[in-house]
């Protein structure tokens, strides 16, 4: 984890209110693993913004992030032209267990703006020869992104809440179609994570969580989640954001 200046190489709209940004970095690109996040300082804002790493390209020395414009901070980020410099801390947090996992086939389950870290993870698994299946849920047609990229990794099902694209329904409506995987990885809204972990109770899985943060590095106790451990809690910023399903109380 380091503080460094990153340069915006490109910024482009991916879907409604959704922006893809490619950043040139010296440190983070060498250290980053799927599931980790960068913590961005924005002029005029007291707190940094946590954004997951969506892709790592060691050759070009870049990382990609994908963010949804939901408030003042992301609004500001969306207006940064190429060449802008961002102050980031990272890579923060514990990654998905992607190397020591021993999986032969995995199921990625993403909801909305929870999709980006799963792309990074899926690419990593694909490169290791692990079979990747994906189920991605979006609100509606105009929010869908990265469909083609996920299809390149393996079989992919898209669902939308209103049926305006792919199949109508929630990710949990189609999970039963996938049988040939040994571990699942999920990131998305809390309601989705609750439903997924319940439905796949008997399957080993990992989930990535969100909470409002202060320090972002484990020092301030802002981002606590209750856990089934002796301590009784975990810090999402430093123990997480990735947890074994069942480890934290949703």
């Amino acid at each position: 984890m380091k503080r460094e200046k990153m340069t915006v190489l490109s910024i482009s709209p991916l879907a409604k209110d959704t922006v893809e940004m490619v950043l040139k970095t010296k440190n983070a690109v060498r250290k980053a693993k799927p599931g980790q996040f960068l913590y961005f300082q924005l002029p005029g804002h007291t707190l940094r913004r946590p954004i997951s790493i969506a892709a790592i390209d060691k050759e070009s020395g870049t990382v990609t992030i994908i963010f949804k414009v939901t408030g003042k901070g992301t609004e500001l980020m969306a207006t940064l032209p190429p060449g802008s410099v961002l102050d980031a801390i990272g890579p923060n947090g514990n990654p998905f267990p992607a190397d020591e996992n021993g999986s032969n086939a995995v199921l990625l389950i993403g909801g909305g703006i929870g999709v980006p870290p799963l792309y990074c993870l899926g690419k990593h698994f694909c490169a290791q020869g692990v079979k990747v299946y994906s189920v991605l849920g979006f609100q509606s047609r105009e929010y869908v992104f990265y469909e083609e990229k996920f299809r390149k990794l393996g079989e992919t099902v898209i669902v939308t809440d209103d049926g305006s694209y792919g199949e109508k329904g929630f990710v949990t409506d189609v999970l039963h179609r996938f049988k040939l995987y040994d571990t699942y990885f999920a990131c998305g809204p809390l309601m989705m994570l609750k439903a997924v972990t319940k439905q796949l109770e008997d399957v080993p899985g990992f989930i990535s969580m969100e909470e409002r943060m202060g320090c972002g590095i484990g020092a301030c106790y802002a981002c606590i989640i209750e856990a089934n451990t002796e301590e009784g809690y975990k810090k999402i910023c430093s123990d997480g954001p990735v947890f074994r399903a069942g480890e934290v109380l949703l």
Binding site: T46, C215, A219, Y221, Y233
Partner: protein, 304 residues
Amino acid sequence: MTSLQVNMAGLTLKNPIMPASGCFGFGKEYSQFFDLNKLGAIVMKAATLEKRLGNPTPRVAETPSGMLNAIGLQNPGVDNIIRDELPFLSQFNSVIIANVAGTTIEEYEEVAKKLSATGQVDALELNISCPNVKEGGIQFGQDPELAKIVTERVKRATHLPVFVKLSPNVADIVSMAKAAEEAGADGLSMINTITGMQIHLPTKRPLLANNTGGLSGPAIKPVAIRMIYEVYPHVSIPIIGMGGISSAEDAVEFLLAGASAVAIGTANFQNPCICPEIIEELPKVLQKYGFNTVEEAIGKAVNR
């Protein structure tokens, strides 16, 4: 050469800069960013007798020029802090200050005793000003009589210098400061956070699960400076100033208002290296305004 050294309450600080309680954990995380030996002192997260799990989340919110927090004094409990955290901190040659909290006078006493017995703590900061817990904390910080009693009792329970951390959520800050001094406090820390609230428009409810939280950051700097300026002429014990400091210029403003040293809280979240950066800048800023030592600047803005 500008001297940054400060002597206060029997302690010698190599410089007047320290991270504020609760914004620096127990140092480990920030030691990834810089050498903690650079710090004049390190103030630990609050310690209570038993471990505390704190308030429900969300616990923080961003505000214009600041933030609200309602952590609720979450900490591992004094025994775990002594076992797991103090050994790490004691390897640094900075002054180590433990922040003591509790719900009863007995709890404050007990925590103070345990920390004092370690030999690894140089001073105590008595947190009678946390706005985010239902019992204890702030009730001692809003009533001069209670503040006096808890300070006296803790003073009897320890041989270490005791700084009483004052709450700005009072009508008369001077009487609180005087009460602490009369009770034997060796110094004052001011200020803790100011109670505030933010409403979350989408849910039409307070954003923080605790409803209210403590405001910190640049937004409270003028309040902190005003309070230190008011208290300084009325006490002869040193003041550790804090509230929205994010530059060496800010730190010098606090010195001029009467602080002998300053603590930096919220600014650590923006820039994890803010403390060493201010330490590096401080001599230049002092020089610029005509001071050769930190001690020359203390209280210069105040007509005693």
